[in-house]
Symmetry: C2
Subunit: 567 residues, 2 copies
Amino acid sequence: MSPVSPVSPGERWFEAHRERLLRASEVSRSREAWTPFVESPSRKRHPEGAHAAGRAAFEARLSRPFEMALPGVVGRVGAEVSPFTAEPLGVSYPRVEPEALMAGVREAWGSWRVASIEARVGVCLEILERWHQQTFENAYATTHTAGQAFMLAFAGSGASSLDRGLEALVAAWEAMEAMPKRARYERAFGRGAPARLEKRYRLMPVGAAVVFSCGSYPAWNAYPAILANLATGNPAVVKPHPDTILPVAIAVETGRAVLAEAGFDPNLLTLACDTWEAPIAGALLAHPDVAIVDFTGGQRFGAHIEASYPRLQVYTETAGCNAVVLDGAADLDAALAAIAYGLVLFSAQMCTAPQNIWVPRSGVVDGDRRVPFDEVSARLVAAIDALLADPAVAAGLCGALHSAKTTEEMDQLRTAAGDRVLRDGAPYAHPDHPRARTATPLLVRLDAADRGVAQRERFGPMAFLIAADDRAQALAGATADAGRYGAIACYAYTADPDWIPAVEDAFALAGASVGINLIRHRPINYTAAFSDYHVTGLNPAGTACLTDPSFVSRRFRVVQSKVELPD
Amino acid sequence: MSPVSPVSPGERWFEAHRERLLRASEVSRSREAWTPFVESPSRKRHPEGAHAAGRAAFEARLSRPFEMALPGVVGRVGAEVSPFTAEPLGVSYPRVEPEALMAGVREAWGSWRVASIEARVGVCLEILERWHQQTFENAYATTHTAGQAFMLAFAGSGASSLDRGLEALVAAWEAMEAMPKRARYERAFGRGAPARLEKRYRLMPVGAAVVFSCGSYPAWNAYPAILANLATGNPAVVKPHPDTILPVAIAVETGRAVLAEAGFDPNLLTLACDTWEAPIAGALLAHPDVAIVDFTGGQRFGAHIEASYPRLQVYTETAGCNAVVLDGAADLDAALAAIAYGLVLFSAQMCTAPQNIWVPRSGVVDGDRRVPFDEVSARLVAAIDALLADPAVAAGLCGALHSAKTTEEMDQLRTAAGDRVLRDGAPYAHPDHPRARTATPLLVRLDAADRGVAQRERFGPMAFLIAADDRAQALAGATADAGRYGAIACYAYTADPDWIPAVEDAFALAGASVGINLIRHRPINYTAAFSDYHVTGLNPAGTACLTDPSFVSRRFRVVQSKVELPD
């Protein structure tokens, strides 16, 4: 670390947050459980009135223009509708002309590009803390755009995403800190006196990044991408999903305020909103000042980006067909309850939700007996139903469907599945929001040999019970699909400890991460920053791994100068 | 480092070479001058008879098939001609069918993919040592293919490239070592007992790499690419330049022997030779098992690769128009002699050779006087002529022209330049090889406003004296061209220490490295492994930076498994 005393607001923030940064650095090596942020909206964890103030701040955003002094504003966009109330939010955002926006971004870059590591990281640490203080407000904004139930939204746009942002920031800081900054070099060339050189190694950013945030979980990938880019000196242009702008706009607004407070141009962090009808992505990605794209979203557009912009650094997280391989458990009902929880949580609209549940026809071990396929199926359905018995609990777990397309896709799948439907996925009645767009899990039986419908992500509460001959075929099928069609998080349950290495090996060779025998770890699809690596980059579910060194190390480059010293 | 005692040949080699690895690791941080390899062919530095044995080994390669048991051999290729003797080498190499080659590579991958870091790094360290022991043989092979004079070839395919290979190997090893391998994770979810998990993080390679080696300097980029790939677990398919196969084939043969000795499949390192008429590159790069391309060579094909294979990790080093900004010197003749040396060394066929020499019309400082443009020009020409006065010295400096195309290009440039030719670049008479293809520097005067012919690499001894109004315009023009057309190594001379920061800033913003006031550092274009970062990736001269963490960190990925421990 630089011993220089802080002289700028960014450097002062670096000092103020230094302990947090150092602790995060330690934990990213020990990979234990840790967060400096408050995960729960519980009254006990917050000052009096914090929740009400956050709600009021959210409500004050509604039915009015969201002002942001961006370059190149040419109009307004915004047509968000709450998945809970079915009412428009009534918020409009600036619509920007890409060339003019990027001209403003380029102008902003100047002083940031050459700012000290501490100044940039300090600004990012302060942004994180301001985001933290806004968690109530942002949780409401997330709820009424993404469709997350409030508790999930509080963690999902709060601590979970802040953690991931801090983890990326630490990774970027460590990568920059690890680089030598200067050296003395002395060597004799030929017979004369040696040449003595002073060498300087500057870390230079590569260019603007376009950060796509996704509709259902807007902060979790956007925060690390924004901070990894800003910390390494690259401006971030955030392109929110057209249906989930508000939580992202709030975060961008806050980040811009911190940048301005630190004496930098707020246009280092900008917002490029668009509509389904007139997307802005192509124009941004083709702009010569753009060097990086961080994309979270659907596999089709992700694959398009991966295939179409060889000039850019492309970091994607899209989707896959996450598998569960069910061989057995000491207590099968506990395992089925854990799986059921993964199927209902936020209506399986998380990229880590299980989808393809592989069950051997030869049966599944339950303690000291072997349970046949149909009984496994029935007990899984019962486990789902048990979770949803109380409407208030169901509402807290399932939240709402982000998109009406999911309802349509469920209808199509139900029709196509016919008598293979093991459990229908009907709407549930939300106790507070009668017009909420909801669904419980639709479960369909498939044979391993005829599982084409399961070989892609089904976004939302759709899952498949896939009958395999035995556990070996189940593992082979699950890992083959993960390798070929992608998987972000897979799962396995076995009562046979000797089989665990085979499971780990098979998923490793498929480039897919696996969680084994997760019972108390509930939700099974919880992914812990500092501890879990998210997405491997080794299968079609994405090219990036949050947030290992490969996620940050190319966002800056070394440019050296060497000066020969006179005699 | 793993405390495991070595159980395989690779791990034993790791132990045997551990001190070298650790020292290299230290030096890559201190960035001082160091090499563990012997740079000079001087008799005093080698066992009696080593030189003669190396020459004999080279001669024994000639006029016969070069045998290599590659997968998919379907014929023979090879039409190398010595640039010194103008005689064919008479060596033929296996021609492989790409699909069959890659099937063999895939089969070889299995055990390497999951081998320990120490086993893989140990094998790579041993390969480096065997290459070191082959330096005399390889220097002759380099001389009679690339056209390097023997002394340069000995360093160029010897210590300089071995250093760079070791540097890449250290970077890969450090990147892998730095990753956590396992962790205990404990956290309470809800009110029950905490979940306790064992997490394992496997480093998995990404896939086969195609390594293109270049015609004029075959080992320097190939060694680091081969070793960075092998160390991280990725097979390397080496595609040599059709005119410079032999030194690369020797290195591949040796690497294969070490792999086999360590109990691995030698097809982890293969050779894919082709011809100008029937190139193999496209088929290799399109193969689904290929994940990486390391390319060194011309800017046109490099740009094609950069634009055409978004699925691949692309690491390129191509070319640019390297500038010299000449503001002044305490002793201008010393500076001009250093520049002249860079113009004649290996006939400027090095990617770091200076090309565009910017000279203010307002004159250049020489101690306490200001020298007008024409005098600078005359004194530079005199400096070149002085270096070439003795034919034996000239031969040792200039070597031969790698390609007949260079002679053609020089003819065209001479004709087009007309009376702007400041110094003609005629062949010199090589004292030992009367049929050698040679040339001395052709120097052409340009005005800054009309410098189009200088805005790309002129491969070979062609350079431009570009007249600018003043040093500010010179610096602006040099850095603008570096940013727009690429530059690998730029230079500046100034007697004004207060101007140095401006020079460093301007080149840094253009993404180009710069050497300032290099006099005793001769050749000025010497690039030191462990100390100099080579290519920035921030201008069109290439996407990779040898060998910073970004060069290695994406060649492997983390795949994790987490297992919940029973109560």
